[in-house]
Symmetry: C2
């Protein structure tokens, strides 16, 4: 399923090696364990050098008539950022974004936006990738707006697998595990519903679950 | 409420006038009536010169076990693009985006991305705005992921008013009308629920509806 529409990739190998060296010598890189929180600050640009990170958001609504309920936050899975991809977080009350290493040994580099002026080629690529990510989030919003949960689930899995999927014997598999709770948070459903629907999709031979809990979209059925 | 976090604005007045002249002499501008569909094609960049456009998306899920139901599309309101702002549409099956003039006499300019190379300053600003819009869509996804509809509605209205709101006597008002059905589609609720909740927010003095059906967020209450 991945096609010409898949993520634009960094190709400035020389630049990239230059960045890695620069980050190392300036103590701007760090390795994180799986599910470790990556500290992020607005105004900084992050580059995932190795592994993948998971972006999670939460909103704390104010102005509600029910202060007790509004204290509770719902954590929403907002997507992956894979190796070679940039990331930035603009915290904005009452919203809050968190970034977690999604796999072991995830390595992240960070820099100030102004520092990016030293690598104009990289800067342009970073902006092109945000342009692309913006389009992906529009698709995501389209999906979330669908009324039937089955439709949302199918479209959501396709969106992720189209972007991150790796070819396997029988189809394309997400290279990272994704829990039913994470899927549920992303498409406005309950964990229980997602578990039930995922079972149904498996029975229908639309998806399969590979070892280490990876979701695969089957192409031949 | 609009603050430093509000939309970055085009400031290259000279460039902007140059674009307008270029568009006119190359037949690349057109004026649309309210709710008229603006034809868009992937690969083209659109600039809203005057007025505002409304972005609407729909998904047609395939692979479902219920072909009749999956023929139905849900139209989802995905936001406004105001004067001086860029827009692009990357159509991708099974998703479909439509752009409509949201107010009378909306004027739109279009060009190929390659043509933008003639205005490197504008190109950079366009990419910066897409970077900004990407962050706004992350906030939007956060909102849509909240469990309680009231929280979603309050956060959503704040998001829009923060971005587009204009100061009035008692608060900040959206400069464009927005129907309950459009709000409902954006935050995964029914039209009836939105109508009920909007009534409640008005009673509580959190919002008011000004003439021509404009939603205002009241600051003093």
């Amino acid at each position: 399923m991945p096609s010409s529409a898949s993520t634009p990739e960094f190709r400035p190998f020389v630049t990239w090696q230059g960045i890695i060296d620069w980050a190392q010598s300036h103590y701007r890189d760090r390795i994180f364990n799986k599910d470790e929180k990556i500290p992020t600050r607005p105004g900084l640009l992050y580059l995932v050098h190795r592994g993948a990170v998971r972006l999670v958001g939460s909103a704390l609504a104010s102005g509600s008539d029910n202060p007790t309920a509004s204290d509770a936050t719902d954590k929403v899975f907002l997507g992956f950022v894979g190796a070679g991809q940039p990331l930035e977080i603009v915290a904005q009350s009452p919203f809050n974004f968190q970034v977690y290493a999604h796999v072991e040994q995830t390595k992240v580099i960070w820099m100030y936006w102004e520092e990016l002026d030293n690598w104009p080629h990289l800067r342009r690529e970073v902006l092109e990738i945000f342009r692309y990510q913006h389009q992906r989030k529009l698709l995501w919003l389209c999906i979330v707006g669908q009324k039937r949960t089955t439709e949302r689930l199918i479209s959501f899995l396709k969106l992720l697998i189209e972007e991150y999927g790796e070819a396997s014997d029988r189809g394309y598999c997400l290279p990272y595990p994704l829990t039913h709770a994470q899927i549920a948070s992303a498409i406005g459903a309950t964990r229980v519903t997602i578990t039930r629907l995922m079972g149904k999709l498996r029975q229908q031979g639309i998806i399969s679950i590979q070892e280490e809990n990876l979701i695969c979209w089957l192409t031949e059925r």
